[in-house]
């Protein structure tokens, strides 16, 4: 590392000289120090792909804050840096938790103690968000999550934890609302529902939430619940169970890899329920569409974001385009939500006017963001006392002709949804 160190030393000297000169020139003026934000994501291991996508969303948000983007009508786009902190830039410090709750907690501690981050953002996996936010809570550092969905995360009475994404319980409700609606409007004829879920915190919480809603939506009956271990080599036995249970609809909580495996196995055994609806972007991701070609069609994803919404909010089209240009992939709900969480954090730090954790926390708690200032199809962002954003809205996207299309709610639909799904070819 000698080269790095010499660069570091040189930079240090330059910075010191610059600060001294600035001090001489402007008296009390101090050059704006960058604000450090620690990001905890799975950058290697089983779901590294999702970690990369999510972090790319955050990088894009930070780029919009730090640099001038004329023509983008979004908070922080016009100027460079955080105005209330003298144009301070945000410095992203990413850490890899590999999907492990233990590593996540250790990395959170390292970022706080050694890298002195002003706030944390993370962590994709709900299980890792659970442990790493515990560290943040203990050390009094604000923690924002844009995509960790397990309901329990905001039910722990934490002071320092904020979540912009809807919980898995809120999302589970949308699944039922959707089915009730299409049962009425298109005679979808759905009565029985199977749940397939991976068995970390996220999948388990989703399955639990679904189970709870059968009471409120009594026209539906549970068919079967199939939990499976992430990183499995085949899902024949899982699919055979589903075939035996003959559900009308399947709710899926799976990460990208198993989504491909399940879809292929469904086709192999000609398992064709009326509809397959997934939480999380896996069943509509680029990887999924590339791997399956025409077979990727007709899956529904309870999404958070869709490019089809660009007509209602030009920001969506612009930011989606920037993402595509930079990272060579289409944006989906996961990076879009991480992007949004980062923007919310930047907004709070700016309103706090300092990197003092208590002030950032107070600013986060007072967050009010209007729909026109963000890229999500939500009614805004506002946290309740548990730290949960209360203004989220769900949409359903269906892959049709190889592209994800906004299909529900009907008043925002880009195209009419296809139900029931046609037989496998």
């Amino acid at each position: 590392m000698p080269r790095n160190r010499s660069v570091f030393l040189k930079r240090g000297v330059v910075a010191a000289v610059a600060v001294a000169m600035a001090g001489l020139a402007a008296g009390a003026a101090v050059a704006a120090d960058p604000v450090r934000v620690g990001a905890l994501y799975p950058l290697s291991g089983q779901v590294a792909k999702s970690g990369e996508d999510t972090l790319n969303g955050i990088r894009l948000a930070i780029d919009i804050v730090n640099n001038t983007h004329a023509g983008l009508k979004m908070p922080f786009a016009a100027g460079a840096g955080l105005p209330a902190l003298g144009g301070a830039k945000i410095e992203l410090i990413a850490a890899d938790h590999q999907g492990s709750p233990e590593i996540g907690a250790a990395e959170a501690e390292r970022l706080i103690v050694q890298r002195k981050v002003a706030a944390l953002i993370g962590a994709f996996h709900s299980s890792v968000a659970a442990t790493s936010s515990q560290v943040a809570e203990r050390m009094g550092v604000p923690y924002i999550s844009g995509e960790s969905e397990a309901t329990t995360l905001t039910e722990r009475g934490y002071r320092w934890f904020f979540r912009t994404t809807p919980s898995s319980r809120t999302q589970a409700r949308d699944f039922f609302t959707f089915l009730r609606d299409i049962n009425k409007s298109q005679n979808a004829g759905v009565q029985t529902i199977a749940v397939v879920h991976e068995n970390t915190l996220w999948g388990q919480e989703f399955a639990k939430s679904v189970e709870g809603y059968f009471k409120d939506f009594s026209e539906f009956k549970p068919a079967i619940v199939v939990g499976y271990q992430q990183g499995t080599s085949d899902v024949t036995s899982e699919v055979q169970k589903l075939i035996a249970a003959k559900p009308d609809a399947v709710f899926h909580a799976s990460y990208d890899a198993e989504a491909i495996l399940f879809a292929r196995t469904y086709k192999q055994f000609n398992f064709s329920p009326k509809g397959v609806l997934a939480i999380g972007a896996a069943f509509g991701s680029n990887a999924f569409r590339d791997a399956l070609g025409g077979d990727a069609n007709y899956f529904f994803v309870r999404e958070h974001w869709s490019r089809d919404l660009a007509g209602r909010n030009p920001l969506i089209g612009q930011v989606g385009q920037m993402y595509r240009e930079r990272y060579g992939k289409d944006m989906d709900g996961t990076p879009a939500r991480a992007f949004t969480a980062m923007m919310v954090l930047a907004d709070a730090i700016n309103r706090a006017g300092s990197t003092d954790p208590e002030k950032i926390r107070a600013a986060l708690a007072a967050t009010r963001i209007a729909p026109s200032d963000m890229i999500m199809p939500w009614e805004g962002i506002q946290f309740d006392p548990t730290g949960q954003n209360t203004l989220t809205r769900g949409i359903f996207v269906q892959t049709l002709d190889g592209a994800p299309k906004m299909t529900w709610p009907a008043d925002q639909a880009a195209i009419k949804l296809v139900w029931p799904r046609p037989a496998w070819r």
């Binding site: 290697s44 590294a48 499976y228 024949t236 036995s237 491909i260």
Partner: protein, 288 residues
């Protein structure tokens, strides 16, 4: 409960089992000949799968067409790893050997993520896709191909090791390298051969797998852990032990997954493993 369903489960179990077996055979061969555990074995599988995928993505070549090339390339890669890495640490301590292959594993994983990214890639509509229906039983072609391909490869390997002069030399070097060298056998060449053949086995598994499984930097870990179990279960160094144990694992996980719980499908596999290690430490077919 229909007979068709049982047959379907068994075929799927065997399909996976043969894949596990093929990976395990490569491992156990290397171990049997030179007492080195290849911790990077799963990453060899990953490389083979990337090779199949890239050939498909670049030239549209079906995994079945590229199978011989992938196998040959993996054979070469095995030789390369032996000469560049393993031979350098053979004289060293046990730890040096373990860390050499462990380090190789970490390196290959990180290199794959660096070059290919963390994305999932899959071969689409390969020749060996789809299903055949026999008397009401739906049999996925990729799994049938795995059964056929892996059993052919195992048979060929068996003939090579037990019925040819080269095989005899390989076994001689495995039993007693010093004595073998006094008889004009070059143990180092035999070791290299073991690495070559061990990697080639993984190449076959990789080609067959890419008909239905996706590749990403960590794909090896999904399969190789069970292959290690198969090696220990079957007895270290025993080829037919690895075969039987691989099939057993494949069947056990599918049947448990269906009849008990898919979350618990690997539990009986590891329980069986523990039981064998406790009651018969040398494995089902291992020599004492």
């Amino acid at each position: 409960m229909s007979e068709q369903l049982i047959i379907q489960l068994i075929v799927s179990g065997l399909g996976m089992g043969f894949i596990f077996a093929l990976i395990a055979i490569g491992l156990t061969l290397i171990y049997g000949v030179m007492n080195v555990v290849n911790f990077a074995h799963g990453e060899f599988l990953m490389l083979g799968m990337y090779a199949s995928y890239l050939a498909f993505a670049t030239w549209g070549a079906d995994p079945l067409v590229t199978l011989p090339f992938v196998v040959a390339a993996m054979f070469g890669f095995g030789l390369l790893v032996y000469y560049l890495l393993i031979r350098q640490v053979l004289g060293g301590s046990m730890q040096a050997q373990i860390f050499a292959t462990f380090g190789l594993m970490v390196f290959l994983q990180a290199a794959a993520q660096f070059v290919m990214g963390a994305d999932y890639f899959a071969v689409r509509d390969s020749w060996l896709s789809g299903v055949v229906t026999v008397g009401g039983v739906v049999l996925p072609v990729p799994q049938l191909a795995a059964v056929a391909g892996a059993s052919l490869a195992t048979a060929a390997l068996y003939l090579l090791v037990f019925r040819t002069a080269v095989g005899r030399q390989l076994r001689a070097a495995a039993q007693d390298a010093q004595a073998a060298s006094t008889l004009g056998i070059n143990p180092s060449a035999m070791y290299a051969l073991a690495w070559g053949i061990g990697s080639a086995c993984v190449g076959v598994a990789a080609s067959l797998l890419s008909n239905f499984y996706y590749v990403f930097p960590r794909v090896g870990a999904i399969f190789v852990l069970l292959a290690y179990v198969a090696v220990a279960l079957g007895g270290f160094g025993s080829i037919h032990g690895a075969l039987v144990a691989g099939l057993l694992i494949g069947l056990l996980q599918v049947l448990t997954g269906f009849f008990v719980s898919s979350e618990l499908k690997f539990v009986p596999v590891y329980m069986l493993y523990l039981a064998v290690v406790l009651l018969r430490p040398r494995g089902l077919f291992g020599r004492s």
